[in-house]
């Protein structure tokens, strides 16, 4: 068995070496984080209560089945959870590579939120400039329609890239406080999801600021990043 959060202890895992250290470290971090979640602790309390009820109803010679079921359930969950952890690890490293997250960009996005906000503001200013430029192109009497179309497409392409960068910033921001998402209200989660599902070019500045403000409030209330 690898890990049973419900009993708040760790037995053994399928991992060894560096992975074992990492996994145990992560498990240790998660225990207090999970304990802070009311939804989770309610479910766990109910789980224990149900097992006790079931045990009480079983004939004396069958009561041992309850602890056997609990152990078997733990074994099944453990393998599944370890698999998900590995998948997360893989996706995280892929994300870092695709987004070209480096030590310096990590500092911008992870350690200096003020700077991140200023970067977003800079992007916004550029988008505003480009929108003005688009209006100028549209109103021009000297450009041909073909030239107008090309220039407009160039401006729109830059705007789309800027929006994509904003979404990337958001993703980087999001993954650094992963579990805190679990502590957001259903309404807040819904707001975040609805923005994340939009086409990047359609996300407005107000929506981006709103999402960041939800995350800021959430993180300030729950403590910061404590990665390895």
């Amino acid at each position: 068995m690898a890990i049973r959060f419900n009993e708040f202890f760790i037995e053994k895992t399928e991992f060894d070496g560096y992975m074992l250290d990492l996994f145990l470290n992560v498990s240790d971090q998660l225990i207090p984080e999970l304990a802070k979640s009311k939804e989770y602790t309610t479910a766990r309390d109910k789980y224990v209560e149900l097992l006790e009820q079931i045990e009480a109803l079983l004939p004396e010679d069958k009561k041992h089945l309850v602890s056997e079921l609990d152990n078997a359930e733990g074994n099944v969950c453990s393998i599944h959870n370890e698999g998900l952890f590995i998948k997360g690890l893989q996706y995280g490293s892929k994300l870092a590579r695709v987004l070209k997250i480096t030590d310096s960009s990590k500092e911008v996005f992870v350690e200096d939120e003020d700077e991140e906000i200023s970067i977003i503001a800079e992007f916004t200013e550029t988008v505003n400039d480009l929108n003005s430029k688009l209006a100028e192109i549209e109103a021009s009497n000297t450009l041909t329609e073909h030239q107008k179309a090309l220039m407009k497409e160039n401006c729109l392409s830059i705007i789309r890239n800027i929006r994509a960068s904003q979404v990337q910033s958001f993703c980087e921001y999001a993954v650094r406080i992963p579990f805190d998402f679990g502590l957001l209200s259903a309404e807040q989660r819904g707001e975040i999801v609805s923005v994340m599902c939009k086409d990047v070019a359609e996300i407005t500045d107000a929506e981006m600021y709103h999402i960041f403000s939800i995350l800021d409030k959430n993180e300030n209330g729950k403590g910061g990043y404590d990665g390895i």
Partner: protein, 107 residues
């Protein structure tokens, strides 16, 4: 139920499910769990049988929190690791095969 924020989490769950179907150890312990489950259901008074199904539901509910939390911690550490090790494509592929080997193998 926990949040279902990222499609990648759902996708990873599906992938893990498919990979674990090939894992003999996993199949064995799943079958053992099912055997105990049925045994308990058989010995509960008929009017209380629903308790074992409630147990199954609540186990899945709390398990969702745990697996999501672990997945996201993995994600976080994957980024940290990639930054720390300056992961390039070759190393990423190696990392990918490392995980795949671990969970697809028959034990």
């Amino acid at each position: 139920m926990g949040f279902n924020l990222m499609p990648m989490l759902v996708q990873s769950r599906d992938e893990i499910g498919a990979e674990l179907e090939l894992n003999e150890k996993y199949k064995k312990i799943s079958e053992e769990k099912q055997r105990i489950f049925v045994e308990i259901a058989k010995h509960l008074p008929e009017q209380m049988e629903q308790l074992i199904y409630q147990y199954e539901e609540i186990e899945a509910e709390s398990g969702t929190f745990e697996s999501e939390a672990l997945y996201l911690k993995g994600l976080q550490h994957g980024i940290e690791l990639a930054v720390m090790l300056k992961v390039d494509k070759a190393m990423f592929d190696k990392l990918k095969s490392w995980g795949a080997g671990m969970f697809s193998k028959s034990v």
